[in-house]
């Protein structure tokens, strides 16, 4: 999505852009996200991502190459030569450019790595991404097991983030905001529902985030619990899922039934970045994402490739990258 935003900015400055996309459709993960408006806009900016995508799709200055995987990036004189493979036809071709913007994004954390949370084993344990898709495509949250409307929902934060046991000693920055906003959507659609929000620290995301947080705190059916749940399991023949956690408030081990459990998964570096971009001189930073400080000679990064970002900051980063590209091209000519 950051690549698209960057392409949109560049075309407005009169630059011809080739957009290389390995998937059949453009838009990245943001194309799967849902609008998180309740009775008012909650500033999730998914519509902005949609709008950027439409703008690029309809633009004459952008050559769209979907299903094309970059195989090699090579410096060629003052510009770059990219070897790309058409994944459908299996043929390779060459793309030339004066500058390259790397916007290969992130990989969502694979929640099955956290076996104790039962993702993949229980149908009613979803990831944040699953819930985004469900709300975007179906319009409301349902239990995948029986299609019923869930009444008691738990959100577990920091699944795959801030977790040294899996080597992710970083915060994914977007999860608190997206989980709170989706929880508000569920609350507004089903006033009888109850949300239990298990977190470590609430991470603010951008301006006016306080409004969202305050609205959740004032909601009597919204419970903030500072705890990391340790286990999710089925309890004999009873409906729902049992979740176990040590809660600081009471100091006891609590076990509660839930209809639906949402794991707010974080972001991982995209494994495809390794190897491919090292040739171009890009190196990973301390968190495993591409270090933007190593960008040079006409290679730039935009979006989550250089570290987790929400939609707002991805677009800002894309605009910053566009400015850097223009500055670089100006210096070349």
């Amino acid at each position: 999505m950051a690549g698209i935003a960057c392409a949109g900015e560049l075309t407005q400055a009169g630059i011809t852009v080739t957009l290389l996309e390995k998937e059949p459709v453009i838009g990245g993960w943001a194309a799967d996200y849902c609008c998180k408006a309740t009775d008012q806009c909650n500033r999730c900016f998914v519509c902005v991502a949609d709008k950027e995508r439409e703008g690029v799709r309809l633009s004459d200055a952008v050559t769209l190459l979907t299903n094309h995987q970059v195989r090699e990036v090579e410096k060629n004189g003052s510009g770059y030569r990219l070897r790309v493979e058409n994944k459908v036809e299996g043929v390779e071709k060459e793309v030339r450019a004066d500058a390259v913007v790397l916007a290969t994004g992130f990989k969502p954390f694979d929640a099955t790595q956290k076996g104790e949370l039962g993702y993949g084993r229980y149908a009613d344990v979803l990831t944040g991404l699953d819930l985004e898709r469900m709300l975007r495509n179906q319009g409301s949250a349902r239990k995948p097991s029986d299609g019923q409307v869930p009444n008691k929902i738990a959100f577990i934060q920091c699944v795959g983030s801030r977790d040294e046991s899996i080597g992710h000693l970083y915060c994914s920055k977007a999860c608190c905001a997206y989980a709170l906003r989706m929880a508000r959507v569920i609350r507004s659609q089903n006033p009888g529902s109850e949300i239990f929000f298990y977190y470590m620290d609430i991470q603010p995301a951008g301006r006016l985030f306080d409004e969202t947080l305050k609205a959740c705190e004032e909601d009597p059916n919204f419970h903030f619990i500072r705890a990391i749940p340790s286990k999710i399991y089925r309890y004999y023949q009873k409906p729902g899922l049992m979740m176990r956690s040590l809660e600081a408030e009471s100091g006891t081990i609590e076990e509660k039934f839930f209809d639906l459990i949402v794991l707010s998964i974080g972001m991982e570096p995209n494994p495809e970045n390794e190897g491919l971009w090292e040739k171009a001189g890009l190196k990973p930073g301390r968190e495993g994402f591409v270090d933007p400080a190593t960008c040079k000679d006409g290679i730039f990064v935009a979006g989550t490739v250089s570290g987790p970002k929400d939609i707002e900051r991805s677009i800002m980063n894309a605009k910053q990258a566009a400015l850097s590209v223009l500055r670089y091209l100006e210096g070349q000519s």
């Binding site: 407005q12 400055a13 900016f45 970083y170 951008g206 968190e287 570290g307 400015l323 223009l326």
Partner: protein
């Protein structure tokens, strides 16, 4: 431009794209280092940049951030030589000891008044960027007393060689960073506290306590730095209610309830006593003069931040051609502020960089002067400040401002370059004199018939 008999016919039912010529020039004003970065980038792109700083030298813009730069390499990389580079840049006109006091006119043709020392001077420019630093407004919930410092005063007052604070000879033995008492969506202070805390601990052996409501780690590499802080002996507490800061035995005393303690184990009140310095996160806001400039431009201010919150329009304000950055946009940690500022610079470059600008002529409002009752409703509500009342000759003939001859009546006029096509004026006009120009249905049908 004024005073001449220039007559311009407004084409009826305009639907083609119009090109307007714009001088590629920008004024960057302010005391935030983000302004230096914006000036440098825009000047490299061939825009004529006038940089206005309220200090005698550019170095003073960066100086308060030196302690953060010593504690954080990425900030150092950003700010290390920027003042030097900008002060030698051939494409930048530097105006020192200057503060922007008034802005009038339109995008593409702004007239800017600046106070330089004692004098007032007028500049002309196409676009304006305001990168201001925030001033401490208050310390929410913490009584003002000796030894309690606002965070920004602490950062700008500390001596990097000795660790001593302004007016003191030695570095303090302990520092308590008291965070989150006010705004909860700002994270600059949490990040700075951890990184500067590690720096103080390692360099001067200062005992550092950090008291916060939530530990904010949503900045690049922050979780690792938090780990490093704990390993170097910095103690972090999370409190429930805003801690009490009072006079204790031999210094200040801070009392609070530990939120991480298990409450069934009994009361969890913690007291830190005999403290030298308590650094509290303040609420930041713009100074009254600067807020007044923004208010005059009809840029709304909320908690000291300006403009709409939409990444499509980063730093963009309702006044087209004016962008804000630094703490005036939102108080952010320097690396984050740089990203925001540069994306705002990109917005500005998109408008003024090419020398021409294409106006979506079919998405602008148009006033029918014959119906206009000069009630000034549109003038008052226009969020883009695009409507003025002008004198008209005959119908659909507009005479530029100042021309007296041939003027028969007054009516509102929309400046098409700055109009956003939002339609507010059209919906509010009591005389129904304003219309948004769209493609009529027939044109759409024609287009479909030709193309399908």
């Amino acid at each position: 431009m004024s005073g001449q008999q220039a007559v311009l016919r407004i084409p009826a039912g305009t639907s083609e794209l119009k090109e307007v010529s714009i001088q590629p020039s920008v004024i960057v004003a302010g005391d935030h280092p983000a302004g230096l970065l914006m000036a440098e980038h825009l000047a490299d792109l061939g825009v004529a940049v006038t940089l206005m700083v309220p200090f005698p030298t550019l170095e003073e813009v960066v100086a308060p951030y030196r302690v953060i730069a010593s504690a954080d390499e990425s900030v150092a990389g950003l700010l290390q030589e920027v003042a030097e580079r900008v002060s030698q840049h051939a494409g930048i006109t530097r105006v020192t000891q200057a503060d922007l006091v008034d802005i009038s006119g339109w995008w593409g043709d702004f007239s800017v008044q600046a106070r330089i020392g004692e004098d007032l001077k007028t500049f002309h420019t196409s676009g304006i960027a305001m990168a201001y630093r925030g001033n401490p407004v208050d310390l929410p919930g913490i009584p003002v007393q000796e030894g309690v410092l606002p965070f920004t005063d602490f950062l700008s007052g500390i001596n990097l060689q000795t660790g001593a604070l302004a007016g003191k000879a030695e570095s303090p033995k302990q520092v308590v960073f008291l965070l989150d008492a006010g705004e909860r969506d700002e994270k600059w202070a949490s990040v700075a506290a951890i990184r500067v805390g590690v720096f103080l601990k390692r360099k001067f052996g200062t005992q550092v306590f950090i008291l916060c409501r939530e530990l904010k780690v949503s900045v690049d590499e922050m979780e690792q730095d938090y780990r490093a802080a704990r390993e170097s002996g910095i103690i972090v507490f999370k409190y429930r209610q805003t801690p009490r800061v009072e006079k204790g035995s031999g210094g200040l005393r801070v009392v609070f309830e530990d939120a991480a303690a298990i409450s069934s184990h009994g009361p969890s009140e913690i007291t830190l006593d005999a403290l030298d310095v308590v650094v509290a996160q303040e609420r930041l806001g713009l100074s009254e003069d600067r807020a007044e400039v923004l208010r005059k431009l009809r840029i709304p201010l909320e908690d000291g931040v300006a403009g709409p919150n939409n990444p499509q329009f980063t730093g963009r304000t309702p006044k087209k051609g004016v962008v804000v950055a630094g703490d005036a946009w939102f108080p952010e940690y320097p690396t984050d502020a740089a990203m925001t500022a540069l994306s705002a610079a990109q917005e500005l470059y998109k408008w003024v960089g090419k020398g021409t600008y294409q106006v979506d002529a079919y998405r602008v409002a148009e006033v029918d002067p014959s119906k206009c009752a000069t009630c000034l409703t549109c003038f008052r509500i226009c969020p883009h400040d695009s409507i003025r009342v002008e004198r008209y000759g005959e119908r659909n003939v507009y005479i530029t401002q100042g021309a007296k001859e041939g003027a028969t009546w007054e009516a509102a006029r929309v400046k098409i370059e700055t109009c956003d096509g939002c339609g507010l004026c059209a919906s509010e006009c009591p005389a129904k004199a304003i219309q948004l120009i769209y493609y009529p249905d027939m044109e759409v049908l024609d287009f479909l018939a030709k193309n399908l």
